[in-house]
């Protein structure tokens, strides 16, 4: 198994091999750690990249001012609550979903965006830049209003994303190992009540039974999987397969891959059947919105559907959570004309 990795593209590892380990040994160790935790080994031909850490940054031969800006980006990424009320209107930090400060495979590591964009994105139907991709997570996952394109905050964030991609070629032609939140196979049947039971047994200790999570002071310790403190109905994680993939690969915290596929999907189904702030793309009518964004998005979510336990239509409300607007003006189409 392990021997195969030597022919896989080993990129970051070469630059950041620390201390006594060679790049190959470092990658082997990294992959061993992941496979022991139940993650799949890379397939032949997949691109494996070990993003540099903040300690590597200190050692790196880059302009001190760039280091400062990358540190600022890291700080914004891991404590995004500092932008609460300005750009963020829920309890999330970026690292609430992109664990390990955006470095972890199977937890949507963020560096791939820096080497695969600009590219066409189905969600909004035009070519997006890295800044626009980040703006997307602000708009939906943070239920917020993205910092201005080109602003200090945006540049600091993109600098951090790009730094994590150090050494990877632009537009790589190989598929990326551990990208996104790979979903386990969807079981035949999903159950709300099994999901509820599983959630209360395995998740509520931290995220609380009512899904509100836990904040201490003005910092988030346990983010809110639903409710006003959570992402809105337009966020990628409301899609069942994305939620199931996130949960299977990352939760309960510290125990990845400990749930069965059935448990992960049932719990995803339960969480995705709870209320949250309105989708910023809302047209004023939930069925119309579901129809409009069904093919690209909502066919995978519970938005606009009837919840079996109480007959309630999900997403049929005007609640935008903590913010007093529906759609930030960065949500717009582009024509490039």
């Amino acid at each position: 198994m392990i021997r195969r990795f030597f022919c896989i593209a080993l990129i970051g590892a070469i630059l950041f091999s620390s201390g006594l380990l060679s790049a190959d040994e470092k990658t082997e160790k990294y992959i061993n750690t992941l496979t022991e935790l139940g993650y799949p080994a890379p397939e032949e031909n997949q691109l494996v990249h070990i993003p540099p850490t903040m300690e590597d940054l200190e050692e790196a031969d880059v302009h001190p001012e760039l280091k400062r800006v990358i540190r600022r980006g890291y700080d914004l990424f891991t404590n995004t609550q500092q932008l609460r009320g300005e750009n963020v209107f829920n309890n999330m930090d970026c690292s609430s979903c992109h664990t390990g400060a955006g470095r972890m495979p199977f937890s949507a590591p963020i560096w791939p965006a820096a080497v695969t964009l600009p590219d066409f994105r189905g969600k909004n139907g035009h070519v997006n830049s890295l800044e626009e991709r980040i703006a997307g997570c602000f708009t939906y996952s943070m239920n917020g209003k993205p910092p201005e394109y080109g602003s200090d905050k945006m540049v600091a964030l993109t600098a951090y994303h790009s730094w994590l991609a150090t050494g990877v070629e632009m537009y790589p032609d190989k598929p990326i190992y551990g990208r996104g939140f790979p979903a386990p196979d969807r079981p035949e049947e999903l159950s709300y009540s099994r999901g509820e039971q599983g959630y209360n047994e395995k998740c509520a200790v931290c995220h609380s039974e009512d899904g509100s999570g836990l904040q201490v002071g003005n910092q988030t310790v346990f983010p809110a999987p639903w409710g006003d403190g959570s992402n809105n109905w337009g966020a990628g994680i409301v899609r069942l397969f994305t939620a199931a993939g996130f949960i299977k690969n990352n939760m309960p915290l510290g125990q990845p891959n400990s749930l069965s596929d059935q448990q992960a999907w049932d719990i995803a189904y339960y969480i995705s059947s709870q209320e949250r702030p309105q989708d910023p793309r809302y047209t004023g009518d939930v069925e119309e919105t579901r129809e409009k964004y069904g093919p690209t998005f909502h066919k995978h979510s519970r938005y606009g559907q009837i919840r079996e336990v109480d007959g309630k239509r999900l997403g049929d409300h005007e609640n935008t959570g903590e913010k007093d607007f529906l759609k930030p003006d960065t949500v717009r189409s582009r024509t490039f004309e």
Partner: protein, 215 residues
């Protein structure tokens, strides 16, 4: 709160989710009387003591009351074991547990002891583990559960900043060895088992030198 059929609740047959103990209200004044039996080890100010090369006594002052009460019940039920401590837990009834937990939780947190002579590299490693973790080894940072500044997160995870180095190290080793396993869902054990002895030492000495009190 879902309604629990009364008869089951009375018989204590319903498993409580999470940490919820069907606990009586604690009264700190009455707790002070109970605590008279604890000062030999935990000290009059609740500071406990770091004992180099021996068994340290944890600081209780300023700790979360629900957490303290849970530990005392766990000692009674034998899910947490310690020869020095168990007899004292066994003396207490549920009301006294609630009272003494309230008493210690309202005391001002004292400072951690131990690890004053730790070298810079050890402290840096400890800080990294405590604040950010080492995800390359899948060691989740302590603050992810123990909250900002590792000063505790609700009733879930207690404050560990400003706890004594010897005590922190002993607890992590106990989880690693499987002799402490009273944590909910093996949450703490899953982390401790991934840590080397050096990492356990590093994080213990760094945490002992941090402030337990909220700024």
């Amino acid at each position: 709160m879902k309604a629990i059929p009364m008869i089951l609740a009375v018989l204590g047959l319903v498993a409580q989710p999470g940490f919820a103990q069907p606990a009586p209200e604690g009264n700190a004044e009455r707790g002070a009387e109970v605590a008279a039996q604890c000062t030999a080890c935990h000290q009059a100010d609740g500071s406990g003591k770091h004992i180099e090369d021996g068994e340290s006594w944890p600081r209780l002052a300023g700790m979360n009351a629900a957490y303290l009460a849970k530990q005392l019940h766990d000692f009674q039920e034998g899910t947490r074991q310690n020869a020095a401590m168990a007899p004292f837990a066994n003396m207490l009834d549920d009301q006294q547990i609630a009272d003494v937990a309230a008493y210690y939780s309202q005391m001002e947190a004292t400072t951690g002891q131990g690890g004053a002579d730790a070298d810079k590299a050890t402290l840096e490693r400890g800080q990294k583990l405590a604040e950010r973790g080492d995800w390359s080894e899948y060691i989740v940072g302590c603050a992810s559960c123990h909250g900002p500044g590792n000063r505790g997160a609700g009733d879930v995870a207690p404050g560990i900043a400003g706890q004594h180095a010897g005590y922190i190290e002993a607890q992590l080793q106990a989880w690693k060895a499987g002799s402490r396993n009273n944590d909910p869902q093996d949450l703490m054990g899953s982390i401790a088992r991934r840590m080397s002895d050096d990492d356990i030492h590093a994080v213990a000495v760094w945490l002992a030198n941090q402030n337990a009190a909220t700024e």
